[in-house]
């Protein structure tokens, strides 16, 4: 009876959290990071609902919390997508690699022996070891 055990839900929520963190770190696009953040928030909501079902004396409280998490996630997505739109209008690209305006003191075609900044400078098609 896995569906009547709180640990199942907690493990699924932990998986969603970790895979969201992995996505935020790994993705190189704004949209990908945003989606991964949504996965993290969903994991948090699932955790709240699991504790609400099995632990809470008043089981309406966790549902209220999860509703508020959903509202915050919706607001976050709206703001994030509007940022993407604004960035696209301003720079005509939404590739985070090319949005390096604050990096202006470093020449764009620097010699390749500069290992520290090499990951920041590559273009999306490059093969990076």
């Amino acid at each position: 009876m896995l569906s009547q055990d709180m640990k199942t839900y907690l493990v699924v929520a932990a998986f969603l959290l970790i895979i969201g963190v992995y996505g935020v770190v790994q993705r190189r696009s704004f949209i990908g990071m945003l989606i991964s953040a949504e996965l993290i928030l969903t994991g948090a909501g699932l955790n709240f609902m699991a504790f609400n079902r099995f632990m809470a004396p008043v089981p309406a409280v966790g549902q209220v919390f999860t509703l508020i998490i959903m509202g915050i996630a919706a607001a976050e997505t709206a703001i994030g997508v509007s940022f993407i739109l604004a960035v696209y209008r301003q720079f005509k690209t939404i590739d985070p690699i090319q949005l390096n305006e604050l990096q202006e003191s470093i020449p764009h075609e620097a010699p390749e022996d500069d290992q520290v900044l090499a990951p920041c400078r590559r273009s999306p098609g490059d093969k990076v070891a």
């Binding site: 009876m1 896995l2 055990d5 839900y9 699924v12 998986f15 989606i35 632990m55 209220v64 999306p124």
Partner: protein, 190 residues
């Protein structure tokens, strides 16, 4: 309560086959939702095509909605589908269509040494959290009949959590206005 006791007896009795057919069907559906969640999450972070990322996230949200239904809250399951699938995924698809072409391989992700570090780190984190969940001795669940109904949720929202309810509406209003302002800002003439 009854179900928890039955589950405990079921596991103590050496996995003797004591479930009825409706229970087995419910467990199957539950497993299906868990698989949907896990596979959707994996698809969302591993695929290189951005449209498939949104698809994976939508599948994961759907699975979580099913899990909510198993957690005695049909209302939250409906809200999950309405908000996450109906609103957030549509907005994300819209965001993708603005800048990317839909089937574009939009990113390379991390490769080589970083991937070798990132994947074991994440697997280790999942295993650690799993063992923490398994080792914790959870307090006994409260006794008595508890009210999972929508009426109770509405009462809590408008009585004890009225301030949070008002604040979340103000937050949503500010988010809408802010999004409109950010999008309609004049282009910098350069």
């Amino acid at each position: 309560m009854d179900a928890l006791l039955r589950a405990r007896v079921f596991f103590r009795s050496g996995m003797r086959f004591s479930m009825s057919w409706p229970d087995i069907f419910l467990e199957f559906v539950f497993g299906l939702f868990v698989v949907l969640t896990v596979c959707g999450g994996l698809l969302a972070v591993r695929t290189q095509i951005l449209m498939y990322t949104v698809l994976g996230a939508a599948v994961a949200f759907l699975g979580v909605a099913g899990l909510f239904m198993f957690l005695n809250s049909t209302f939250l399951a409906m809200m999950q589908i309405l908000i996450y699938l109906g609103a957030i995924c549509i907005v994300l698809v819209f965001g993708i269509m603005v800048g990317y072409t839909p089937r574009q391989v939009a990113e390379q992700g991390i490769r080589g040494q970083n991937l070798l570090l990132a994947v074991p780190a994440c697997v280790a984190a999942v295993v650690l959290l799993r063992s923490a969940v398994g080792r914790t001795i959870w307090p006994a669940p409260p006794d008595g009949q508890r009210d999972f109904s929508l009426v109770a949720v509405g009462r809590q929202l408008l009585e004890q959590y009225a301030l949070a309810f008002e604040l979340i509406s103000v937050l949503l209003l500010i988010a809408i206005i802010g999004a409109i302002i950010v999008v309609t800002v004049k282009e910098d003439p350069r």
